[in-house]
């Protein structure tokens, strides 16, 4: 663990990314104390104002404080990332583990399922899932999570297949340990580091996708200050009040960038051989 931390610390871009991720998480957690104004109440006589001392990032189409909305949005975004990743992990990893370890008919079936999921461009699939389940941030999290399942399944299955012939598993079986025990305490721990790396990157992807779906009007419901939705409404006023697009847009970019830099650093730290030359 310490080694990993030390390696990240030496990774300049990783450190910057990690720092930004910490800021993002902190803002998300502390939103109620950080936001200078109520994110949901506005003054209709002061709509779409430019940034000022009172409203650092200006006001939106209903006279609400943009900064406060972005800060509260961090909280929503944090939740979206966590839940979407959790869904992908909780379904994808066990499926990959069992599929790889048990093999046979189960593996075949699971892989066909994965094939079908992969036969659609991910965004299309997510759009259809959200359209069926109904618009809303909760359903967006589910859709994005579901779409990420095949990635996890493939990743874990590959790892397990590579591990299967190794002597330490033979030894465990020879010792008479149960299959489930072996799966949970020998196989799983050895697949952890790629899973962790994948999850960090998936977190970034989930945020991007959720924002995209919200932008299409399928995600967050007004008045929730989800970042993608902020850009979507700001789009209407692109000419008269561009700050409504620029600020949330930059925030989404920065957050995703932080997560991917951190993810890359993590990969390098966890597996030095894979390092980018």
């Amino acid at each position: 663990m310490l080694v990993v931390l030390r390696r990240i610390a030496r990774h300049r871009s990783g450190l910057a990314g990690g720092g930004l991720v910490l800021v993002f998480v902190a803002v998300g957690l502390l939103a109620p104390w950080l936001a200078p104004h109520d994110p949901l109440r506005g003054d209709l006589s002061r709509t779409r104002e430019d940034p000022s001392a009172e409203h650092w990032l200006g006001t939106d189409e209903l006279g609400r404080d943009v900064l406060s909305r972005i800060i509260w949005g961090a909280r929503l975004t944090l939740r979206v990332g966590l839940i979407a990743v959790a869904i992908g992990l909780l379904v994808g990893v066990p499926l990959g583990l069992v599929s790889g370890y048990v093999g046979g008919a189960f593996d075949l079936l699971a892989q066909r399922l994965v094939d079908v999921l992969l036969a659609f461009p991910g965004v299309l699939l997510a759009i259809m899932i959200v359209a069926i389940m109904g618009t809303g941030l909760e359903n967006v999290m589910i859709a994005v999570g579901v779409v990420s399942i095949p990635t996890y399944t493939r990743l874990v299955r590959g790892q397990v297949l590579a591990m299967k012939p190794l002597p330490f598993l033979e030894a465990a079986r020879a010792l008479g340990q149960g299959q489930l025990f072996i799966l949970l305490f020998h196989v799983l721990p050895n697949t952890l580091s790629p899973i962790i790396v994948q999850s960090t990157l998936q977190f970034a992807t989930s945020i991007l996708w959720a924002a995209g779906l919200s932008f299409l009007g399928l995600g967050a419901q007004a008045p929730a200050p989800e970042w993608g939705a902020l850009v979507a409404t700001g789009k209407t006023y692109l000419r008269s009040a561009p700050h409504l697009v620029i600020f949330p847009g930059i925030v989404i970019s920065l957050t995703v960038m932080a997560l991917s830099l951190f993810g890359d650093a993590l990969r390098d730290a966890l597996d030095p051989r894979e390092q980018l030359p």
Partner: protein
């Protein structure tokens, strides 16, 4: 001095708005023939079979190709393909004299048989949304080549006005028979322009009908395209890529008005934005609660903040410019009184509820939710995309779960019959008709029934006024404002007309270059 002048200016503006449709300022020069006009709409027509669409994008294109027996112009309802209409004293026998020498674009003559074919097609068709509007027509007969004799089951008041709805525009029977299901892609009417070509997702082209029966159009060609993005339409107009754009966003009007290359045309329409309640849900069954919601909404602030001043204070449930319209006392903004009324209704602390909205009304919904919260009506905002929204609010009474929602209502044929009859008459409760407020007031029903079987214009006006006053006291819906229809055009384009049912007419338009 200044203040007087300002007030005068203000009055002038107000007059301009109230007088409704403003045609583009006519130049001094005589209209010139020729040229192509590029019209950009917010969406592509779905079908150009007028009875197979409900989209205004389609109706606007249709108004150039088709004509009805009557027509809604900026000056009101005028006889069009019908020259003369006689109604028997009992109101049940209508004789329509058709204009002579009118041909459809395919050469088919417009005669009594063609009219009969068109009306019967919709009345007897199983799948037409507005088939019900022709239900009172018992028998349609071609008395001679140019006389249509209609016998009604009951006298039918709104008939004249609804014949001006392009949905009932005359289509060539020959073409309808020939094209069948493809009629929506190959429209054949009698209008000043005829259909030339349409590449879906691309351009739709109309050309002048040189065989037109009346004053021929000036323009050679109209090319229609769709740009859904508000800013995209505005840039297209400013760049000169478009000559007319339909629906200018209110936030851009001030800027556009300053340009001398562009003109903004605006009309008060019959489109009202309604806050509506499901009257089967407590506490919306209590009139005090509905009035409290009305008093709690700062409607003048919405006009200024949400509509950027491009809306008018509502003074009736229906919008202005509608047959039967009466101006009523505006509802004040009075949150204190609203709280009082809630207390009277036994809800001193307010209550929790849900507001269901379609994405197009998201902005105004948020503003209303904010205001309602201030008097203790805590509404959770639920936005559903259009298909789901429709399904949700249109459920039959027993299953309908919505509590409060916001929709806009336009009067398609500019008669108060629509939307009053389908939306407020208790005979039209879902699933039978369009009353998904589940509003029931037998007195209102009586007046509405009476307006339907009355053909005398004056008497209908009085009956409507009575119904409207009852509705105004009862507030089954709260009208938030009357929306304006805003069209942008290049300054070289003259003679564009817009109507209170949100149509753009290019028959008299010409290019001054």
């Amino acid at each position: 001095m200044t203040s007087t002048r300002q007030r005068l200016l203000g009055l002038l503006c107000l007059a301009a708005l109230i007088l409704g449709p403003i045609a583009a300022a006519e130049g001094q020069t005589a209209p010139r023939r020729g040229g192509t006009v590029r019209m950009v709409e917010p969406g592509e027509p779905d079908s150009l079979d007028m009875a197979r669409t409900l989209a205004n994008y389609s109706f606007i294109v249709g108004e150039q190709i088709f004509e009805g027996l009557f027509r809604w112009t900026p000056k009101g309802l005028v006889p069009w393909l019908a020259q003369d209409v006689r109604v028997s004293p009992d109101g049940r026998s209508w004789t329509l004299k058709l204009r002579q020498g009118v041909l459809f674009h395919d050469g088919t003559p417009l005669n009594a048989e063609a009219v009969k074919f068109n009306l019967e097609r919709i009345r007897d068709g199983k799948a037409f949304t507005y088939a019900g509007l022709l239900a009172p027509l018992a028998d349609i007969k071609a008395a001679d080549d140019h006389t249509v004799q209609i016998t009604m089951k009951t006298p039918y008041g709104p008939f004249r006005a609804l014949l001006g709805f392009i949905y009932f525009g005359m289509q060539s029977p020959t073409a309808l028979r020939k094209h069948g299901e493809d009629s929506g892609s190959s429209p054949v009417g009698t209008g000043p322009f005829k259909f030339q070509s349409w590449r879906r997702g691309g351009e739709l082209t109309l050309v002048r009908n040189d065989g037109y029966w009346g004053d021929k159009a000036f323009l050679d060609r109209i090319v229609v395209t769709a740009i859904p993005d508000l800013n995209g339409r505005v840039s297209a107009l400013e760049a000169g890529d478009a000559d007319v754009i339909v629906e200018v966003p209110p936030s851009e009007v001030a800027r556009l008005s300053k340009s001398n290359r562009v003109q903004v045309l605006s009309a008060v329409t019959s489109r009202n934005q309604w806050l509506r309640f499901n009257e089967l849900k407590t506490p919306y069954d209590k009139p005090q609660v509905r009035r409290a919601a009305a008093l709690a909404t700062n409607r003048d602030a919405y006009i200024k903040g949400v509509m950027q001043g491009h809306a008018t204070r509502a003074r009736n449930i229906v919008g202005p410019g509608v047959v039967g319209y009466t101006e009523l006392e505006p509802i004040p903004y009075d949150p204190a009184k609203a709280k009082e009324l809630l207390a009277q209704a036994g809800l001193p602390g307010g209550f929790n509820t849900t507001m269901t909205c379609a994405p197009s009304d998201e902005l105004i919904c948020q503003a209303v939710v904010q205001d309602l919260a201030a008097v203790g009506i805590n509404a959770k905002l639920q936005t559903l995309e259009w298909g789901t929204f429709l399904k949700y609010i249109m459920m039959p009474a027993a299953e309908n779960e919505y509590q409060m929602s916001i929709v806009t209502r336009i009067s398609q044929y500019l008669d108060a019959d629509f939307p009053l009859y389908p939306d407020f008459h208790s005979a039209n409760w879902r699933p039978k008709g369009g009353n998904h407020l589940f509003y029931k007031n037998l007195e209102v029903d009586r007046f509405l029934d009476a307006t339907r079987v009355e053909t005398d214009v004056e008497k209908r006006q009085t009956l409507f006024a009575s119904a409207m006053k009852l509705l105004w006291a009862d507030l089954p819906v709260v009208p938030l404002y009357s929306q304006h229809f805003i069209v942008g055009a290049g300054s070289q384009l003259k003679g564009v007309e817009i109507t209170p049912n949100e149509r753009v007419l290019l028959q008299k338009a010409w290019l001054d270059r």
